[in-house]
């Protein structure tokens, strides 16, 4: 069984972090120098890649680590093998 595409396995928890910091998407966009449109793409899981510079700017603005912003779901085949 082929592994799931990696795009679908990466979760972006921007909503949770914005709520924790009491920040809006627009404010975050201003702080990191991105457009609201691009941040929306990231928030809605439609991004295919993120630059390290963008990741670092987001972590600075949200005062978090990359592991809090991004998580990786286990691959379906390894989950099936374990089960």
């Amino acid at each position: 069984m082929p592994p799931e595409p990696s795009d679908d396995r990466i979760g972006v928890h921007l909503d949770r972090l914005l709520e924790r910091r009491g920040m809006t998407l627009t404010e975050l966009a201003d702080r990191v120098g991105l457009t609201v449109v691009n941040l929306s793409i990231l928030k809605n899981g439609r991004a295919r890649a993120i630059r390290f510079s963008t990741l670092a700017a987001l972590c600075d603005a949200l005062d978090c680590q990359p592991g809090e912003l991004l998580t990786c779901k286990p691959a379906a085949d390894s989950r099936n093998r374990a089960g």
Partner: protein, 203 residues
Amino acid sequence: MEPLSPSYAATVAHRLTTFLLVAAIGVGVFMTADAVIGGPRHVAFDASAPLDFKLLPRGLYPTSEQRTGMVVEDPTAREQRLALAADLVPLLLLVAVLWLLRGVARSVRDGDPFVRENVRRLRAIGVLLIVGVLAVHYVGEALQSALLDPYGRSPFEPVSVPGLLPADDEFPEVQLLCGLGAFVLAQVFAHGVQLREDVEATI
């Protein structure tokens, strides 16, 4: 992704394909209108006629028949229709290819060539150049044979009496190669579209 600023070459290419497209359509409309409302159509075609050996110097002989132009005096309505069809069929193919090419040229002029529509257009051009050119080639041969039918022998009968045969048109290998090239270019554009989508989705 911001479109690139249009280059002069791309603008010229777009204008040239537009001009050729309009000219081809104009020629087709004129030919059709002339056939419908004009007088008897001039019917001319190429044919292969056997060379008279007696006319040649001693020791020389031809290896093929002589290609020559023929004009029909007082063509019948059927002959006029056949001649018009023989002219219009390749013209329609040309118009279709130019239409698609113009679309590609317009997107290049606008600085945004790597779009899915161009992949489809280039594949369509490839199909037209391979399948269409072969169809035009054989339809043209059939039409020429039909024109020759009242005047000579069928090309498939044994030649015991000299007669007229359809002119031996060259096989369109250049157009076929261009069609293959269009398919390859379509795949290049498909990769370009993929790269563009990846870049646009990179934050």
